[in-house]
Amino acid sequence: MTGPADLAAALDAQDYLADDGVATAAYLALTMHRPLFVEGDAGVGKTALAQALAGALEAPLIRLQCYEGIDAAQALYDWDFPRQLLHLRAAEAAGKGDDADKLEHELYSRRFLIARPLLQAIETDPCVLLVDEVDRADDEFEAFLLEVLSEFSVSIPELGTVRATNPPVVVVTSNRTREVHDALKRRCLYHWVEHPTFDREVAIVRRRFPTATARLVDEVATAVQQLRKGDLLKPPGVAETLDWTDALLALGATRLDEDTATRTLGAVLKYREDHERVEQQLGGLAGMLAGAANAW
C-alpha cells in the first residue's frame, strides 16, 4: 500500500466507506506501527473500522472487549488449572510422579497455557487487535495495557518472554465515558470519528442494502440527518440508520411514509424523551418527512 487512497480502496472492497480522515489515520497506524485510538459517538463505525481493516489486510481480527474489573488473567494469559490437575493425577496414577522437576516442567508448558486476546495478538502474525471500549475498563487496567502496547512482549514467569515478531495493527476504541490517561493516548494516533455526511451515509446504506429503493435510502438518510440536528438525548449513529433501513425493508417499504416511519421509529430513537421531542420540535414525523418527500 502506497498511500491513504490505496487503503481507502481496500477498505471499500470490505464495504467500509472510509473518508479522508479515517483512511489517513489507518494508513499512518499501519506504517508507523502505532496503535490507532478512535473516539466518537456510539454507532459511528469505530468497531467496524477494525473489522474492515482486518479484512483488507487479510489478517485475523482479535478482539478484546473491555469491561469493568477486567484483569491480566482475562486479557493476557491464564494457566489451565483443571487440566494441569488432571495431568498431575494421571501422572501419579501411571506411577510417574517421582520425578518432581520433570513433572513441574510439564505442568508449566505451553500446552497448559490459555492465550487470551493480548497474548494471541502477540503470537499471531499478521493480525489486527481491537481493544474495544477501553474506557469501560478501570484505570489499573489502562496502565497494564500501556505496558503491553509499548513493548508488544509478555514475560510469563514460568515460561519466558513471548515477543511479537511484527507488532500487530492495534485499534483502540473509546466511547469517552471517561478520559483515558494521557500516557496511553501519547502512544497512539488519535482520531475522532464524525457522523458521515449525507452523501456518504446514502452510499453506506446502499452498499449494505442493495435491494432498497433509491428513494427509501434518500429519505431515511435525510430523516436521520435531521434527527441529528434535533438536539436529542441520543442522536442516531450510522448503526441506527442501518437498523432502521433493515426494519423498513422487513416491512416491505419502498419509501418512508408517516405510517411506516412511526411503526419503525423504535429502531432509531431509544429514549421516550426523544420520541416526544420529535413530536414537539421537529413538527412531528409528518413535517420531518415532508422535506424529504419534496425532493421526489
Binding site: 480522515g21 494508513y27 490437575l85 478501570d138 471517561r178 494521557d182 501519547r186 494516533l189 488519535y190
Partner: protein
C-alpha cells in the same frame, strides 16, 4: 533548501512552529507528539495541505476538545499570513481572589495584631474553630490564608460501591484457581476451599462549581475545596467542572499539586469568570457531553451553586431529573443556605430541589466538611431528613 521558491517552509520548522502555536492555544502538544507528526509527514505528502492537516490532527491532538483548537490554529498558521498567530493568546492575567469583604464584620480575636499574640495552642485552636464556622464571604485577607490551609487538608472520598474486581477473602464465592493451586501444592490431595469476594471502591465524585457573578465571593474557596477533593489517594479521580455562562472541564488544570498554581491555571482557562448563570443549559451540556456517556453513572454529583438561574427554570428541573436518574446521589451545596432565615426561594433552586438527595450549605469550612462527609456516605445526624435539609452552622 536552495532552488525552491520561498513559499515552501522547512517541514520540521513548520511542525515545531505549529506545535508551539497549538501549545499557546492550550493543546498539550509535547515533543513526543511533535516527533510523531514529523514521522507521519515523512509517510505522507507534505506538499498537500490535506495530508499536513491530517498528519497534525492525528498526532498532535489528544481529545475532541483539541480538534476545534487545532482547526483554528491550523487555518491561521498555514493561512495567508503564517506569522500572525504565533503570538501568545491574549489571556487575561486574571488572579482568582475573593471579593474583599468589609473587615468591620470581623469578630473578636481575628484581627492581625492579635494573631501575633496567639501563642498558646488553645487560643490557636479556638481561633481555628471560629474560622471553621465563619461565612467565607466575610473573611479578611489574613483569615483567608488560614482558611486556605484548612481547605488544603481536605480529602473528599466517594461513598463505597462493590467493584467487579475480587480479592481473597474468608467468605464469598469459591476461588477455583486458588483452590486448585493449593490442591497442586498438596499433590492433588483435597484441601480447604479458598474464597474470594468483591472488592470495594469509592464512587466517582463529580463537582459542578458555579463561578458566576452571584457566587464570586465563594468561588475561590469552592475551587480550592475542589482542588483538595480532586487529590485523593486512590479510586477514580474526582471530575471538576465550572459552570457560569459556559461549561468548562477543569479537572486537568486542578491536577497541579499546588493549589495556587492550579487556581491560576483555572483563571486562564475559564472565560466566564463572574458572568451570568445558565444553570439549566449547562447541566444539560454536561450530561450530553460527559454525564450520559458514563461520567455521571453511579457517581455522586455535587452541585455547588446558589441556584440563581437566568435562563428557563423548567429546563433546569428537567436536567436535574436526568442527572438524578444517572447519578447514585445528587448533592446540592448552596452557600446562601448558611444565612439565617434562608429559604430556597431562588427559582432555579426551587426547580432543582425535587431531584436533589441532599441539600446542604457550603458557606464555611465546617459546612464544606459536612459536605465531604455526606459525599463519603457518613450521615452525621441520623434524624436528618433525606431531602431538602437545610443546615445552619
Amino acid at each position: 533548501m536552495p532552488g525552491e521558491p520561498p513559499t515552501t517552509y522547512d517541514a520540521a520548522d513548520s511542525v515545531v512552529g505549529l506545535a508551539r502555536t497549538l501549545r499557546a492555544a492550550g493543546v498539550d502538544a509535547g515533543p513526543e507528539r511533535v516527533h510523531a507528526m514529523v514521522q507521519a509527514l515523512a509517510r505522507l505528502d507534505p506538499g498537500r495541505r490535506d495530508d499536513v492537516y491530517w498528519a497534525g490532527r492525528l498526532t498532535l491532538c489528544a481529545g475532541v476538545d483539541d480538534i476545534d483548537r487545532y482547526d483554528r490554529v491550523f487555518a491561521a498558521y498555514f493561512g495567508d499570513r503564517p506569522r500572525t498567530l504565533i503570538r501568545r493568546r491574549g489571556l487575561p492575567a486574571a488572579q482568582l481572589r475573593l471579593v474583599q469583604a468589609a473587615d468591620a464584620i470581623d469578630g473578636p480575636g481575628t484581627g492581625d495584631e492579635e494573631a501575633d499574640n496567639d501563642t498558646s495552642v488553645a487560643a490557636t485552636a479556638s481561633r481555628t474553630e471560629v474560622l471553621r464556622h465563619r461565612d467565607i464571604a466575610s473573611l479578611s485577607a489574613s483569615d483567608r490564608a488560614a482558611m486556605h490551609r484548612l481547605l488544603a487538608a481536605f480529602r473528599l472520598r466517594g461513598d463505597m460501591r462493590r467493584s467487579r474486581r475480587t480479592r481473597p477473602a474468608h467468605r464469598g464465592t469459591v476461588d477455583a484457581r486458588r483452590t486448585l493451586r493449593h490442591l497442586m501444592q498438596a499433590g492433588g490431595e483435597p484441601v480447604r476451599p479458598a474464597h474470594r469476594d468483591r472488592r470495594e471502591r469509592p464512587r466517582r465524585v463529580v463537582l459542578l462549581v458555579d463561578v458566576s457573578g452571584s457566587m464570586s465571593s465563594y468561588a475561590d474557596a469552592l475551587l480550592r475545596f475542589a482542588h483538595a477533593a480532586s487529590h485523593r489517594d486512590r479510586g477514580p479521580a474526582t471530575e471538576v467542572f465550572t459552570i457560569g455562562t459556559r461549561l468548562t472541564r477543569v479537572t486537568r488544570e486542578l491536577a497541579h499539586r499546588d493549589p495556587d498554581v492550579a487556581l491560576k491555571a483555572i483563571a486562564a482557562s475559564i472565560p466566564d469568570w463572574s458572568g451570568g448563570t445558565r444553570l439549566g443549559s449547562l447541566v444539560k451540556e454536561f450530561l450530553d457531553v460527559w454525564g450520559q456517556r458514563g461520567m455521571a453513572r453511579g457517581a455522586i454529583a455535587v452541585v455547588l451553586s446558589d441556584g440563581w438561574e437566568r435562563g428557563d427554570v423548567t429546563l433546569l428541573g428537567d436536567q436535574m431529573a436526568r442527572l438524578h436518574r444517572l447519578a447514585h446521589r445528587v448533592v446540592w451545596a448552596n452557600p446562601r443556605a448558611g444565612r439565617p432565615g434562608f429559604a430556597p426561594l431562588a427559582a432555579g433552586m426551587a426547580a432543582a430541589l425535587p431531584n436533589v438527595d441532599d441539600f446542604v450549605s457550603g458557606h464555611s469550612v465546617a459546612a464544606l466538611e459536612r459536605l465531604a462527609q455526606l459525599v463519603a456516605g457518613v450521615r452525621t445526624d441520623p434524624r436528618a431528613g433525606k431531602r431538602a435539609e437545610v443546615t445552619y452552622a
